[in-house]
Amino acid sequence: MRTRLKVFFPLSILVVLVLLLPILIMVIASFQSTDGSFSLANYQQVITNHYYLKAIRNSLGISVVASAVSLIIAVIGAWALTRLSQKTKNILITLFNMSASFAGVPLAFSLIILFGNAGVWKAMTAAMHLKDSLEIYSLTGTTLAFTFFEIPLGIMFLFPVFEELNPEWREISAVLGAKPLFFFKKVILPVILPNMIEVFTLLFANAMGTYETIYALTGNSIVTIPILIGTLIDGGLTANIPLACTFATLFALVMTFIVWVGNRVTRSKREAA
């Protein structure tokens, strides 16, 4: 028992100091009005203020589209990855892993260099007298930016699932007379569908929580939930930390629920198998 205590001591201290206590205080603060008394006013504001509702709508819109598109591309990418040699796989996985680190300020800046107002794409289309309609600082542009880290992330999650699919299944079903489409619908899809749902929830949660990329790309002009929280913390005169706590509490609750549901889907499937 004493060794166990010693082994877990540093991690427990860390979790208590910078996870449990702050989250607990955050939840309590979300129920406080600016003078410190208990109130539900913050929650009421979240669901009635038009500006806040717009932030929620933007966040949901960007995240659903970006994670759905990224999931489809990641499924194709993960399948393709399983077909390559072991050495290439290792290299590509490391690179996909690293591209997550490139997200944020460097990614936003690269996209501005490529598609921004003074960017290379504009320079090239101007030189070739083409019309250019891509606006990187818009909702569409932001969604496009998200795919640059959501696709590699999706591939990282889905690759192990595709690696486990047995190539013999295909031969067996072919011998038994199944057409490729039937094989895909009745054998492959039931195996990968729960995983796809789980990965979708993770990609969605990841997109919902993205602050750095969108802040670096558009400043505060496209307001999402993380951007809103950032302004409420950082905004000088308009700073309202209890309200930021309310948004953060709601965010953590909803995301925990969604990720938990996604996790249940794959686990129940695994237990049934």
Binding site: V7, V18, L19, V105, F247
Partner: protein, 271 residues
């Protein structure tokens, strides 16, 4: 589809994906070497001028040192917190692992922007150095990466037997751990350290919001340059990318060299 055509298709897909993901980076790298690039298909000329300007700027050096320091401290803390736990969970109590799994989804349910809200609410008015809180918080957020990399290191070998033999031969648990276990998982530890270091080195959200931009790390410097000087910022982005590429290269080399034990059957300890 025959295996050969399916392989071709797979290669085409991966190549396409790779080009898609790499294009912004490649363009930024070219931009960092160009004299100017306005209304033309290719840059007007190539130069190293922007590199000279950035690297000799003391602001760059200071930011770099801060980021390196943050990365190192975080790596040490993450190792102290997790190395004993992952060892214990793998060797003595696999059931603990299901409880630790909550850590792996932490960045999704409580991302940086949410965590920082709680940290500010709790610590803003307490007389504790914010930098200490920052280092601890970054360690917490990099734990999923550390955990998974360390956990992989314990696959496929009987560490319990090794450890207990050392105890029987009279070593204290700590000595046995340092002398027997660590050398055997050093590749895994190195991978975990590199990944933790990288994530801390490039941290932005916590650093910026918790310290209000007073502590200018490489990423915060990059963001400031981005608003004012596109050329300098493209140089910094390129340097940052080269740093990530270097870490990736080291990881690939480690993986190529040490991936064998994963496939070999469990080693039988000789009694």
């Amino acid at each position: 589809m025959t295996p050969k055509t399916s392989r071709r298709v797979a290669q085409a897909i991966i190549t396409f994906l790779f080009i898609y993901l790499a294009t912004p980076i490649v363009v930024t790298i070219i931009y960092s070497f160009s004299t100017s690039w306005v209304k033309s298909i290719a840059p007007a000329g190539l130069t190293l001028k922007w590199y000279g300007q950035l690297v000799t700027n003391p602001e760059f050096t200071t930011a770099l040192i801060r980021s390196l320091g943050l990365g190192l401290l975080t790596t040490v803390i993450a190792m102290i917190c997790f190395l004993p736990v992952v060892f214990y969970a793998n060797v003595y109590s696999p059931s603990v692992k299901s409880h630790l799994r909550f850590i792996t989804v932490l960045p999704f349910t409580i991302p940086g922007i949410i965590l920082v809200t709680g940290l500010i609410q709790l610590y803003a008015n307490l007389p504790i150095p914010k930098i200490l809180i920052l280092v601890l918080a970054i360690s917490l957020l990099s734990l999923p990466m550390t955990y998974q990399a360390l956990d992989n290191a314990f696959i496929g070998r009987d560490f319990r037997a090794m450890f207990e033999q050392a105890l029987v031969l009279g070593d204290k648990p700590f000595t046995a751990f340092v002398k027997i276990i660590i050398p055997n998982i050093r590749a895994g530890i190195l991978v975990a350290m590199l990944l933790t270091f990288t994530s801390a080195f490039g941290e932005y959200v916590l650093t910026n919001l918790l310290l209000g931009g007073n502590f200018e790390t490489l990423k915060i410097y990059m963001f400031r340059l981005m608003q004012s000087n596109g050329q300098a910022s493209s140089v910094l982005t390129t340097i940052y990318f080269l740093f990530l590429a270097l870490i990736s290269l080291i990881l690939i080399i480690i993986m190529q060299r040490y991936s064998a034990p994963h496939k070999s059957p469990k080693e039988v300890p000789d009694h």
